[in-house]
Amino acid sequence: MVEGDGEQPLVRTGIVAGTFVAGIVVAALGLMAIMPRTASTAPGGTGIGGGAAVSVASFTPPALADIPDGKDGDAIRRGLAIFDDPRNNAGQFVGNAMACKNCHLDSGRKADSSPMWAAWVAYPQYRKKNDAINTMHDRIRGCFLYSMDAGNSPSGGAPPDDSDVYRDLEAYFFWLAKGAPTGVKLKGANYPKPVLPAGGYDPAHGATLYASTCAACHGAEGQGAKQPGGKIVYPPLWGPDSYNWGAGMARIDLAAGFIRANMPQDKPGSLSDAQAWDVAAFIDSHERPRDPRQNGSVAANAAAKHKDEKSYYGKIVGGQLLGSGIPKARR
């Protein structure tokens, strides 16, 4: 096309432009090589160091089949095993029937299910919950204390700070996040925020929805389902074996976000925003293990730790003061 003397200026311009574009493309490819799984990046981010929530980068975590061999792979596999089955692989510190993967689906890999690859690059961060800078280590400890109700575990507490439970879980999260940009909010991080209907949420309507949509797996009494050998198939959503009142999932807004994006498991996305709020309200208006931060009365703890949150903690439902907790023996 460009041979001969009769080359038109127009053609040359085309070549110029083409070369220029090629440069752009190659530079972009070079960038992609550096950030292998990141489709786009933008400034700021809501993670490390704060900033406006303007950034969204896409990210796809590696497949579990790609966990490497060797000692790093061994640590990653140990972390994965704890994540999927903490009752058996970190049982000393688990006081209920929950597993990490119950809130972080697909072994912490699923977008919009608080995936661990997005969390890894967002920590450390300040959390209002404990008014402190939280590292991933601190955050994991919080999950044990609340979502896993560690106070009722055989050891009576979360893993001690020098436990390899933290190291192995962090090894797994780091591996999931390899290639993700540090401190940048990733698409699919956390749970989405469904719109609260003008009329608010309605647990009575949620009860109907629960019966038709959730109870088949999670049980009419929220008790979940176990195999005869004790293996938990569906997690309990309230009652003694569920997360306690200090867990994020006991907040209606967070549970609604989780449900909206992820439940029912065989048909995620099929509930509307309003339905997700209603069923979350129904679930979280039941009694569950007490908030381990409670020192005095439920009312005092409600004022100290549950102020300004959408929760039934400290409210009277069906004549019962919620937050009183459920008597239970340590595992």
Partner: protein
């Protein structure tokens, strides 16, 4: 290798550094005939700049800036203080920077000598080639010998144990693992690394690999280099210099207020690499490779606080257990004295309140 037990650069990291070195020629391949191509790439880079101001080039990981203004010669540009976030996170990062730069004062309970993090990690942990924290952050956790996973928290603890000689600190130990300084420091490191790719190997990580010396390293030759080039700041006795309030001006590099025998910097090869790239402070890069090895040998053939790993063992036993596989003077007899016994009076730098 037992190297990581005492917080030296891991084998994996050392290998990574070599890989980066090997990659370097490939990065400089653009020929003059490709001017338009380069222009195109430049336009893309400018477009990227508009999206992500921290980055200045398509190869983002060729180094970092020096100096508080940022924007140095490197291509990974770490945030400047002007970009410090507001609120609790900004306050935590500021605390961390203060602690990093003035550790023996700000974390006095856990420091048994007169050193600060910034003495090895220059420019508040920002300088490429001086084990910058932005490059370290994206590499952790790392995997050491055996099954051990070392998180950044573990690694910081190791720095206190050895480089800060926590055994002779007021508390007698590194910060407990639930101490909030870990969160502050980790947030600072992550902020320095903002935008950098998790797991990526960034050029500028660790200390640049140093060539082996042409002649075997020699502390006697090193002593002459030291007298001429180093003593003005670090003192003839290696004791450095500090302000009356304890703030370190020039770190002690041997003797009672320096790093202990388990610190990475007591490894002659590691210190040589640090020195070659970073010393003297006002004219880094001016020492020859041979001089860097020799002066490292001189500095590290002086007595310093004892090895915390020694416990009930003899120096010889501890040397055999923990000081093999890298060049060290631990356990060697110099001028009739067996090195490793520990400097008398090891402990915090005396200071007025």
């Amino acid at each position: 290798m037992a190297k990581n037990v005492r917080g030296r650069i891991s084998d994996a990291e050392a290998q990574i550094e070599q890989e980066v070195e090997a990659d370097r020629p490939r990065l400089i391949k653009l020929g003059g005939g490709l001017l338009l191509f380069v222009l195109g790439a430049g336009a893309a880079a400018i477009a990227l700049l508009a999206i992500k101001p921290q980055f200045t080039g398509p190869d983002l990981y060729v180094g970092g800036p020096t100096g508080d203004g940022g924007g140095g010669s490197g291509d990974y540009v770490v945030p400047t203080l002007a970009q410090l976030p507001k609120g609790d996170e900004g306050a935590a990062i500021q605390r961390a920077i203060d602690l990093f730069n003035n550790t023996n004062v700000k974390a006095a309970d856990f420091v048994g000598n007169g050193l600060a993090c910034k003495n090895c990690h220059i420019d508040s942990g920002r300088k490429a080639g001086a084990a910058p924290m932005w490059a370290a952050w994206v590499k952790f956790p790392v995997y050491d010998s055996g099954d051990k996973v070392t998180t950044m928290r573990d690694r910081i603890k190791g720095c206190f144990t050895n480089s800060m000689n926590a055994q002779n600190s007021p508390s007698g130990a590194p910060p407990p693992l639930d101490h909030p300084l870990y969160g502050d420091l980790e947030l600072y490191f992550a902020w320095l690394a903002k935008g950098a790719t998790a797991g990526a190997t960034m050029a500028g990580q660790g200390f640049p690999k140093i060539d082996p010396p042409a002649l075997a390293f020699d502390p006697v030759r090193g002593k002459a280099v030291y007298a001429q080039t180093c003593a003005a700041c670090h003192g003839n006795g290696g004791n450095g210099a500090s302000q009356p309030n304890g703030t370190v001006v020039y770190p002690a590099i041997f003797g009672a207020h320096s790093y202990n025998w388990d610190a990475g910097m007591a490894d002659v090869a590691l210190a040589a690499a640090f020195i070659k790239a970073n010393m003297p402070f006002n004219a880094p890069g001016t020492l020859t490779t041979q001089q860097a090895w020799d002066v490292s040998a001189y500095v590290n053939s002086q007595e310093r606080p004892k090895s915390p790993l020694q416990k009930a063992q003899t120096i010889a036993q501890n040397g055999k257990a923990n000081f093999t596989g890298f060049p060290t003077y631990y356990g060697q007899t110099i001028d009739g004295r067996e090195l490793g016994a520990g400097s008398p009076g090891a402990g915090p730098l005396p200071r007025s309140k």
